[in-house]
Assembly symmetry: C2
Homo-oligomer: 320 residues x 2
C-alpha cells in the first residue's frame, strides 16, 4: 500500500494545475510565499471567502467530488451576484487524514469547476484537522460597476432567476440510497447549484440591487431591504417552483421556496423599464418577476393575492 | 445573562471596522456578497491564505487575543517575504460556540494588528465547528517586483533577519504558568512574531530570492534551493541566537535555530555587492550573514568551521 502523501506531495499531486492560468494576469501561482497577479487596468476586483464544515454544511457521507463542486458553486455564486467574471481562487483545506481516494475525487471536482468557469487555483493551505473547506473566489467587473445590495428604490420590480426550494427539499435525501428521478434532480440542485454568471452579466446594466439566495428568499430579501432601506412585497403565487419540487412535496414547496437556503439563485431589483428590456430578450425565461420594492415602513411581506401571509421561519442563520 | 450573538451580530459587533479603510482602494467592504477593491495602477497584488487549527497549530488554552496576533503575524510574514506592503485581509473563523469573551479578545487582537500594519478586514465567513482560523492577507508591490524563492545564484550570500529558534523553544512553555523573564520573551516570540516588512522593503532592490521561515531554517532553505535549482551552505556558528535562547537551552539552541518553525524571520540570498550596501546601512544589525549559495549538486548542508554537521530533523511538515 502506498504511504499517505505529505503536505507538499498533496499540493503537487492534487492542487497544482487546477484550471487555466491567464498568463497576462498571473505573475506567480502556487509555490511561493504568496501568489502574485497583475490586475487589469480599469477593473474592480471582487472577492468572497466561504467556509463549509463537515456535519454542519454537508453530511459526513458526502462524496468528495460533489463536495468540491458544491463548495465552488456556492462561492462562485457570490461573484455572479456582483455581476463579476471569475478569475482565480484560493483553497484552505483541513483534512482528518490524507486519503488518496478522497483527495483524488475532491481534486477532480475542483478541476471540473475550474475548467467550466475558467478560473485557476493560485494558492492556499492544507492542514490536518476536522474536515473544513474554505474557498476564496476572485473576479473582475468593469471599474465601479459591481452590483450591490444597496440600490433598490420604491416602485421597482423584484425578480429572481431559476427555481426556488429545490436544494432545501434535497436536505431530506442526503443519506438516502436508491433515488427516484425527481429525487436525483433535487439532489443535483443541492450538490451542483449553477452560479448565475450569464444572468449576472446580463442584468448588470439595468439592476439596482442584487444578492444570491444562500440563506433563503425571505432572509436574503431582508438583506436587500436592510441595505437599500426599502420594503419588499413578495407575491407567493408568483414564486418559480420546479415541477420536480411540486411533485416531491406539493404542501411544502412554497414554504421551501421562501425559507430554504442553498439555491444560489439571484434575487434582484430593477426599474420597470429595465425589466421590460430583460423580458424582451431571448433569455427572458431565466427570470421571474416575484414582487415589488415598497417603502421602508412596509417591511418585507409575503402576499397571496391581496392577502398577507405570515411565514414562521426566516431562513438559516449559523449561530441560532 | 445575554444570549449568544447570531452570525450577523458577531460580524457587526466584532469584525466591522477592523483596521483603517483606504477609500481610494476599497469600493465595498463587509456587508455585501463580495468585497470590492479598485487595485492601484502599476502594482502587483500579492496574497496568501493560512489556516490554523486548534490542537495542531495552537493549544486549546491559547488566549484569543494572542491567537489573533499570532495568526495575523504568520500570514503577514508571507507578504513581507515578497517585499509587499499590506493592504487588506479576509477572515474565515470557525467557532465551537459564540462566547462573547473569546470573540472580544480575538477581535481586540485583530484590531491591534490591523492598526499596527495599516490593513483592513474586508470580508470573510463565520461558521460553527471546531476552532479553525483562516486568514488571507493581501498586499501590493511595484509591478513585477515581488521577491520570489527562485532567483538565487551560485556565489551569492545567504542572509537571515532577527534571531532563530526562539519560537521553537517556546513550544515547551505553552501550558506553563509563572514564567521567568526569559520564558516570557520566548513565549512572546511564539505568539507575536514580527512580520519583517521594513526588512522586506529594504532588501527588495538587492535580494535575488527570499522566503519567510515558517517550517524551520533547514526546511525553508530547502525550498529556496529547490525553487532556485541551487545548493546552500549554512554556517552553524554564524546563526543568530538570542541571549534568552542561549540562557534557556544552551544545548538545544543551535538545533532549534536550524529546525524549529514559527520564527517568521526572512531568509534571503543577495549578491556580494548588494550585501555590502545592506551592511553599510543604519539597519545593518537586522541582518546576519549565515552562508553562501552553492551549485545545485552541493545540496543544502550545514558546516561548523570546515566540518559538515549532520542534522536529523528537517523541520515541520503537516502530513508526516
Amino acid at each position: 500500500m502506498p504511504s499517505a502523501p505529505s503536505e507538499f506531495q498533496i499540493i503537487k499531486r492534487y492542487f497544482e494545475g487546477v484550471g487555466p492560468i491567464d498568463k497576462q494576469l498571473v505573475n506567480q501561482g502556487i509555490g511561493d510565499d504568496c501568489a502574485v497577479i497583475n490586475p487589469p487596468a480599469n477593473k474592480s476586483l471582487c472577492f468572497s471567502l466561504d467556509t463549509m464544515v463537515e456535519g454542519r454544511h454537508f453530511p459526513k457521507s458526502a462524496p468528495p467530488q460533489q463536495l468540491a463542486i458544491r463548495a465552488m458553486s456556492a462561492s462562485l455564486s457570490d461573484l455572479a451576484a456582483m455581476g463579476a467574471s471569475p478569475a482565480f481562487f484560493t483553497l484552505s483545506l483541513t483534512l482528518p487524514d490524507s486519503d488518496p481516494d478522497w483527495l483524488e475525487g475532491f481534486s477532480r471536482g475542483l478541476k471540473y469547476m475550474a475548467e467550466r468557469y475558467q478560473l485557476s487555483l493560485l494558492g492556499g493551505d492544507t492542514t490536518r484537522g476536522p474536515l473544513t473547506i474554505g474557498i476564496q473566489v476572485h473576479g473582475f467587473t468593469a471599474q465601479d460597476k459591481a452590483l450591490r445590495r444597496s440600490g433598490a428604490t420604491e416602485g421597482e420590480v423584484l425578480v429572481v432567476t431559476g427555481c426556488l426550494g429545490d436544494a432545501g427539499a434535497a436536505l431530506d435525501l442526503l443519506d438516502k440510497s436508491a433515488l427516484s428521478g425527481v429525487e436525483e434532480y433535487l439532489l443535483g440542485r443541492y450538490y451542483a447549484p449553477t452560479p448565475r454568471f450569464a444572468e449576472g452579466l446580463l442584468i448588470t446594466p439595468y439592476a439596482s440591487a442584487c444578492i444570491d439566495i444562500s440563506d433563503g428568499l425571505l432572509a436574503d430579501a431582508g438583506h436587500i431591504a436592510e441595505s437599500s432601506s426599502c420594503g419588499l412585497r413578495i407575491d407567493l403565487d408568483a414564486l418559480p417552483l420546479s415541477k420536480e419540487l411540486r411533485e416531491f412535496s406539493k404542501d411544502r414547496a412554497a414554504l421551501l421556496a421562501l425559507t430554504a437556503g442553498d439555491d444560489y439563485e439571484l434575487l434582484f431589483t430593477i426599474p420597470e423599464e429595465g425589466w421590460q428590456v430583460l423580458e424582451s430578450k431571448a433569455e427572458a425565461s431565466a427570470f421571474t418577476r416575484i414582487g415589488r420594492v415598497e417603502p421602508k415602513s412596509f417591511g418585507v411581506k409575503v402576499f397571496s393575492g391581496e392577502q398577507e401571509v405570515e411565514i414562521e421561519r426566516k431562513g438559516f442563520q449559523h449561530f441560532e
